[in-house]
């Protein structure tokens, strides 16, 4: 008996003294990989590149496991763009999403902050992949770099137009690099970086992809950059647009409806893709637009169409009108992104398919129609009107699709006003209107009139720039400055 007891002790004691504490106290995670162990092959670098596309895709707000504050990215973009124009508004005045259309966003606005964060997440993931680029196969390296830089430029172009001067980082920074993280760089310098990155993409990439970076996508976005920057480069923009047009690789879809419901069609140059019914890879905005009477969305309804826009559609909408929106008894709603299986034939009881909240409709970043209209804009070169035959031809292609019965439609000249209205109607709800108003230099004029019409108190400072998120300013210890009006 006595011996057994001692044996038990001896064994117990042995177990704990013999155990290698170093090994014991360093368990290795088995459901995630560590950075150290991951980047080994070309495929691993490609996975890093795909990770950047994941960032521009954003996280569906309806995913049950999603965090309360995460990268929603483009899925919130209509709030920051369409809502801040005369195109659309929020259905109710509840919550921070309802602040955009009344120009009362403040520096704590959740969605504006999320967007800022989302774009920097894109930039970070791009910069991060560049650190591992040497692991990639030699013949893929330049392509991967071009892709990462294209996506970085995409994000900076959104940031610089919505927030003005922003911090510029082109490498991975830690939280202690406060100077770089919190210093706002003048817009011109941001544009230099964007142009440099896009030119590299143009030089390296081809047009084999529509859902990943391509030469035409880089050309089209660079054209828009040229038209947007403080001293527009109209001839550069014109050349880029003509290069896309003359490549004959893209064309307008004959039927306007198919542009939105036939994914990656001929007209699409670059789109962010989603998969229906997949909570991780789908988008929430489709359901938010179909929610006039809380039909599908989380909120009470976003992108509710203003009468002012309906008036323009009635003027020049043509075939585009019925595709773009639908008037229910209680609200006019966007119909360009109806979820799979939607049926509006009974307006009293519309249905939206089985996966409305996990919609798969792609977000179109750049399509051929936009390039045609940018072509006109480049030719117009800031003037009031143009009779240039090339410009008129581009403009007519848009008109002829909208009004096929009267095609070819006679276009004698295109004024700046014509072009702006055409873009408004053709590209309605594609988050273009806000940037168009800025480029055309009519933001204040249009929006103050709109505010008067709607009874909003217009604040030109809030209309022209969104706030740098208050939390960024707060943790910057005075390094980061706020935009005027906030």
């Amino acid at each position: 008996m006595k011996h057994i007891k001692f044996l038990v002790f001896a064994i117990t004691g042995f177990i704990f003294t013999s155990c290698n504490t170093d090994e014991f106290l360093n368990p290795v995670p088995d459901t995630v990989v560590t950075v150290e162990s991951f980047f080994q092959t070309d495929a691993d670098v490609l996975a890093g590149i795909i990770g950047i596309y994941d960032a521009i895709q954003g996280v569906n707000e309806n995913t049950t496991t999603s965090l309360t504050r995460a990268n929603r990215g483009v899925q919130f973009e209509h709030l920051l763009t369409e809502h801040r124009t005369d195109n659309t508004r929020n259905k109710t005045l509840e919550g921070s999403k309802s602040d955009f259309h009344r120009y009362v966003v403040d520096a704590n606005n959740v969605e504006s902050e999320d967007y800022y964060q989302s774009m920097y997440e894109v930039i970070f993931r791009a910069n991060n992949v560049l650190d591992y680029i040497d692991i990639a196969d030699e013949n893929n390296r330049a392509k991967y770099v071009a892709e990462a830089k294209f996506l970085r430029a995409y994000a900076y172009f959104k940031l610089v137009r919505l927030y003005g001067d922003v911090p510029l980082v082109t490498s991975v920074l830690g939280p202690l690099d406060k100077e770089a993280l919190f210093t706002r760089i003048p817009k011109a310098q941001i544009y230099e970086q964007i142009i440099e990155d896009l030119q590299e993409a143009i030089n390296v990439l081809d047009n084999t992809q529509k859902a990943r970076a391509s030469k035409a996508a880089a050309q089209g976005i660079l054209a828009k950059v040229y038209l947007t920057q403080a001293n527009p480069n109209y001839s550069g923009a014109q050349q880029l647009c003509e290069s896309i047009i003359n490549s004959m690789e893209f064309d307008l879809e004959p039927n306007y409806h198919d542009v939105f419901y036939n994914e990656l069609n001929n007209e699409i140059i670059f789109a962010i893709q989603y998969a229906t019914g997949n909570p991780n890879e789908s988008q929430s905005f489709s359901s938010e637009f179909t929610s006039g009477a809380r039909r599908q969305g989380r909120e009470d309804g976003q992108n509710i169409v203003n009468d002012n826009l309906i008036a323009d559609f009635e003027l020049i909408g043509g075939d585009r009108t019925s595709v773009s929106y639908f008037t229910f008894p209680d609200a006019t709603e966007v119909t360009k992104y109806l979820p799979d299986g939607s049926d509006l034939s009974n307006p009293a009881a519309p249905t939206y398919g089985g996966s409305a909240r996990d919609a798969g409709n792609d977000y179109i970043v750049l399509r051929f129609a936009d390039v045609l209209l940018m072509h006109v804009e480049a030719v117009l070169a800031g003037g009031e009107a143009t009779v240039d035959s090339g410009a008129l031809a581009s403009f007519r292609r848009i008109r002829d699709r909208a009004f096929p019965a009267t095609a070819p439609n006679a276009i004698a000249s295109v004024t700046k006003e014509d072009l702006l209205r055409e873009r408004r109607v053709e590209l309605a709800f594609e988050n273009q209107r806000y940037f168009d108003l800025v480029r055309f230099g009519v933001l204040d004029a249009v929006l103050s009139a709109h505010s008067a019409e709607m009874g909003y108190v217009y604040d030109s400072r809030k209309a022209s720039l969104l706030p740098i998120p208050a939390r960024e300013i707060n943790i910057s210890e005075g390094l980061l400055t706020q935009n005027p009006g906030y």
Partner: protein, 1032 residues
């Protein structure tokens, strides 16, 4: 005798112990205290060298079978043990002398026990006398008000919901602030508090100061609750059956009641007319006859029932306790429900004279139906809204697409012109669906199957030196199912969803100690050395899906396969601790205790893996000094001082993997849809911090224990100051880094306060006694340093601008916002003041709300925000009175909290402060109640002083009335104890006048960075129950 034989014998003993025949004469008697002649219940009486034994009942009576020459031993804690040889007398009354010399109550401390008189730390002991008669579903609910310095808050009052326990204030911003739990010496998950049966608990000891808790090192930084479970006693096996059944009713809110007809009267009075919406609502009320507040539907009350059966007994060598329990709690809300089944088997056995072993196994199963959304959601809906359609409502108000029995939803209503103004409209409510459907059509269940087990083996190597090894095993299987049915939302089947999460957790704890305890004359030593190894594993997987077409399969089988996503997360946490302690007492007067613990944890990287946690404490029993020894006044006077360090490695940043490996750079899946396929993508998950280290708490306590006038007045007074440094903090970082936060050690928080306990025996005689206990604790929380994160703001998750600030010199996570200028509420004036300010909001017609221009610069900017309060009480108190008259006893406890604030945005929801003029009712009533000047002046997105309410409460927490049947009556029916009682909780619960919600203790998130936020809260309830305890 070899071990095998011995084990077999033990088992045989275990099963046969009740079968031993009992011979000889029946001896009866009463045991009283020699000081006051009051009977002592629970005195242990054993016949030496036999297995016979008994204990005295509530009246101090006992009876036992004896034979001439038997040696009877009477023992009770705090009294001198008496030995009497039986010599054929019929009755034997014994008078026990109080052991004033020793005051020998034993208190459980970390890895051991200590005489209460020798304690130098701040340890409170609660003996389970009548706690098991409080009809609550968890043991921690019953501890409210029992211990000074311990705040137990009903932050989640649904059936089976766990309260939040804070000992001596909140010391962390990201780390867990809950105490560690140790049951019979084994560290277990604090979730065990929801599984243990109060009837099995003998006592609780709460280690409040760092010096006492430091022996637990990294487990002890927020205090430790030690639970000692009941053991069997040598003698006849005693059976007990304890049951109660009660009724629970919610304390609703009168401030939030709604009534359509009342609204109409208010509107008529205010405007002289009725709007189309109101007329429409009245028409619905006329058609259905339903005009009631939704609180009436949702707060339906519920029953609580408990059955507990136990058998305890043993002989001098082997003692056992076995119990079985069922508890059913229906909760006070329509769908919440909780069921607990638990059993316990505990056995201790002597193996020869020098070694002992024991085991304890507690399997349990709980099933909880959780409320699917915050209760404010359904209860704020309009009173005219019925649950179901009838043919009449369909004909009158809809386009006919509904059928009788369908849920009635606002969306079903046609716009109609009730006021004949040419415009069609309909009344509004603000739900996405029928409120009833929001709860009934969603089934959210938590199933927990758990097993807690421990064994120990101890061996006395030589006199005074004991080696002990013990192993604790915790197995926890949790299945959470979340079914949202096709009818729960207005949008129908497309909103149906299901998820199931399975988590299996294990925790193995191995403790190995050597303890040397010896007296040399006046010198008493107790020396401890040990090593503890702990391993925790968690394996969880989640499957979720949507795309349901109907409610037939309420699980993943009914989901559209393409919608199904699955995730798996495994984590591991391992720790090793080495510890030692010396307790020394000289002549019972001078007391010193010193301990040291060194902990290594897998949470930290190689450079910072180990942390050291020393502690020292001293005490001086002044009453034992010669100059007081013969004092008639002082019975006890002891000064204590302690200092210690504890640590913490637990934090929650929302990712279980990062919580366990914060020092490694990890990758996450970041797949994307590209060219209609979904290729694999990755992206960084965290900012690795290889230098992350232990959060350290340093605590100083000075205290005084006192007892006067024969201990008729006794108690203690403590002052503590706990400083938590190197806080484990999820610190926001610039978004430009690509991350939102990184885990760092930053900040220093101090909690300081007083703890006061006063126990008095006001009246004490044979027939009647009255005892009182007053417990009061104060706490002040202050952020001492916060590096470059000083003034860091944290915003709320509601998408509203509720804010918390961490500012040096103020409590952590204080509420931060504007101060409402109530004097400026004059519609005509404030249109012209503050022309250029952010409050020109609602359609530019009027100011939303007038706030004070605190810095006087003429503009309302972010600089005009100030600290509006904090969610931590300044004072918590309880006052208990116990009366005994003959066989009756009566007790009550009043308990309350003062000085905390609560950010209750429930008002915004219930009064519909959303500036939407189409919503009926809420605004009109709010105006009538004087709560807001005008609906359109309310800005819901701004945190103002108007949103912050006092969280003070005063409650009649417990009332208990019991009757113990006299022994001569019950012995005829063959039972040894019979008690009937009635018990009530929260019969009275008074909240501050500016608080309108259901529960000022409620907290929505349990997140220390956003603490004290709620949307009205899950309601506080009152319970009235009746119980019977039978011993036989």
């Amino acid at each position: 005798m070899n071990l095998k034989t011995k084990l077999i014998l033990t088992v045989i003993l275990f099963f046969n112990i009740t079968l031993f025949a009992q011979n000889g004469a029946l001896l009866k008697g009463t045991v009283v205290s020699s000081t006051d002649n009051i009977p002592i219940p629970g005195v242990n009486i054993i016949v030496k060298n036999t297995s016979k034994g008994t204990t005295t009942d509530f009246d101090g009576n006992y009876q036992i079978q004896v034979q001439e020459g038997d040696v009877l031993q009477f023992s009770y804690i705090g009294f001198v043990t008496q030995v009497v040889i039986y010599s054929n007398q019929k009755t034997l009354n014994v008078s026990l002398v109080e052991d004033l010399a020793k005051l020998d109550e034993v208190v459980v401390i970390g890895y051991g026990t200590q005489k209460k008189s020798h304690l130098t730390g701040a340890i409170s002991k609660v003996v389970n006398e009548n706690l098991d008669q409080i009809a609550v579903s968890r043991v921690d609910d019953a501890l409210i008000g029992q211990v000074s310095g311990v705040n137990i808050q009903s932050t989640n009052a649904e059936a089976g919901g766990a309260p939040t326990i804070t000992i001596r204030g909140v010391g962390s911003i990201t780390a867990d602030s809950g105490p560690a739990l140790v049951v019979d010496g084994i560290v277990v998950s604090s979730e065990f508090l929801g599984n243990i049966d109060m009837n099995d608990v003998a006592s609780f000891e709460v280690l409040k100061d760092a010096a006492s808790a430091a022996i637990y090192g990294s487990e002890g930084s927020n205090g430790v609750i030690l639970i000692t479970t009941k053991s069997g006693k040598a003698g006849k096996t005693k059976f007990s059956y304890q049951t109660y059944t009660g009724r629970k009713e919610a304390h609703g809110s009168d401030d939030y009641t709604k009534n359509t007809r009342k609204w109409a009267q208010l509107e008529q009075a205010a405007t002289g007319t009725l709007s189309g919406e109101t007329l429409y609502a009245l028409a619905i009320v006329d058609a259905t006859g339903i005009d009631r507040d939704w609180q009436e539907v949702f707060f339906d009350g519920g029953n609580i029932t408990s059955h507990s059966f136990a058998a305890r007994g043993g002989n001098e060598n082997t003692k056992f306790s076995a119990s079985l329990r069922y508890l059913g709690d229906e909760g006070v809300i329509i769908t919440d429900d909780y069921k607990l089944y638990t059993a316990n088997l505990k056995m201790d056995s002597n193996l020869g004279k020098k070694s002992k072993f024991g085991l304890s196994i507690t399997p349990s199963y709980t099933k909880q139906r959780k409320i699917p959304t915050s209760i404010h959601n359904p209860t704020r809906q309009s009173p005219w809204l019925p649950i179901y359609h009838t043919q009449e409502t369909i004909d009158l108000f809809t386009n006919g697409s509904k059928s009788p029995g369908d849920y009635f939803m606002e969306n079903d209503l046609l716009n109609l012109d009730f006021d004949n103004d040419g415009n069609n409209e309909r009344p509004r409510t603000s739900g996405d669906s029928n409120p009833y459907a929001q709860y009934v059509e969603r089934e959210h269940y938590d199933y927990n199957t758990k097993l807690y087990g421990s064994t120990y083996f101890s061996f006395e190597i030589f006199d005074g030196l004991t080696a002990k090894t013990s192993l604790g095993v915790t197995l926890e299987q949790r299945k959470q199912t979340r079914w949202d049915g096709t009818k729960h939302h207005a949008a129908g089947a497309s909103r149906a969803a299901y998820s199931v999460n399975n988590r299996f957790r294990t925790r193995l704890v191995s403790d190995n100690t050597l303890n040397y305890s010896k007296n040399f004359g006046n010198h008493e030593f107790d020396i401890l050395a040990g090593v503890t190894v702990q391993q925790r594993k968690s394996q969880s997987s989640q499957i979720e899906g949507s795309g349901f077409s109907d409610d037939r399969l309420k699980n993943i089988q009914g989901a559209n396969p393409t919608s199904v996503i699955a995730t798996e997360v495994n984590t591991e946490l391992k720790k090793i601790g080495y510890f030692g302690r010396i307790n020394y007492a000289y002549a019972d007067k001078y007391l010193v205790s010193a301990s040291f613990r060194r902990d290594g944890s897998s949470v930290f990287g190689p450079a910072t893996k180990w942390g050291n946690f020393p502690a020292v404490s001293v005490g001086w029993n002044v009453a034992k000094e010669d100059f007081l020894r013969n004092s008639d006044f002082f019975n006890n006077l002891k000064f204590r001082a302690s200092y210690g360090l504890t640590g913490s490695e637990n934090f929650n940043v929302g990712s279980d993997v990062v919580n366990n490996w914060p020092y490694l750079a990890l990758l996450q899946n970041s797949n994307a849809v590209v060219n209609n396929g979904i290729p694999t993508g990755v992206s960084p998950l965290n900012i690795a911090n290889a230098l992350l280290q232990w959060e350290a708490s340093e605590e100083l306590t000075v205290g005084l224990d006192y007892g006067f006038l024969n201990n008729r007045i006794s108690g203690s007074l403590d002052y503590y100051q706990r400083t938590s440094d190197e806080l484990l903090l999820e610190n926001p970082v610039s978004y430009v880094t690509g991350f939102t936060s990184g885990i760092v050690n930053l900040g220093k928080v101090q909690n300081r306060g007083w703890e006061f306990e006063l126990r008095t025996k006001n009246i004490s005689n044979e027939k009647f006694s009255w005892n009182s206990t007053l417990i009061a604790s104060t706490n002040q929380n202050e952020l001492l340093s916060f590096g470059d994160s000083n003034n860091a703001l944290i915003e709320d998750e509601y998408g509203r601008n509720s804010q918390w600030i961490n500012r040096i010199g103020e409590p952590i996570s204080s509420f931060y916002g504007y101060v409402v200028d109530t004097e400026a509420y004059d519609e005509t004036q404030f249109r012209t003041t503050y022309v250029d300010n952010p409050w020109n909001r609602i359609n530019g017609q009027a100011q939303d709300i007038i706030v004070k221009d605190l810095n006087g610069d003429g503009l309302i900017t972010a600089d005009d925000k100030t600290i509006l309060g904090d969610p931590y009480p300044d004072l918590i108190y309880s006052f208990t009175n116990e009366f005994k008259y003959g066989n009756f006893d009566f007790s009550f406890m009043v308990q309350g909290s003062l000085g905390a604030q609560i950010n209750n945005i429930g008002d915004e929801y219930f009064y519909n402060w959303f500036g939407n003029s189409t919503r009926s009712g809420g605004a009109a009533q709010a105006v009538a109640d004087g709560l807001v000047p005008h609906e359109s002046f309310i800005q819901e997105k701004v945190l103002t002083s108007e949103v912050i309410a006092s969280a003070d409460y005063f409650s009649l927490r417990n009332v208990n009335l019991g009757y113990n049947f006299p022994e001569d009556v019950i012995s005829k029916i063959g039972v040894s104890g019979l008690r009937l009682y009635a018990s009530a909780q929260n019969l009275l619960y008074i909240t501050a006048s500016d608080y309108h919600g259901f529960n000022p203790e409620h907290d929505d998130y349990g997140n220390p960075r956003a603490y004290g936020s709620q949307r009205a809260g899950t309601p506080i309830y009152k319970t009235v129950s009746f119980g019977v305890n039978i011993d036989f």
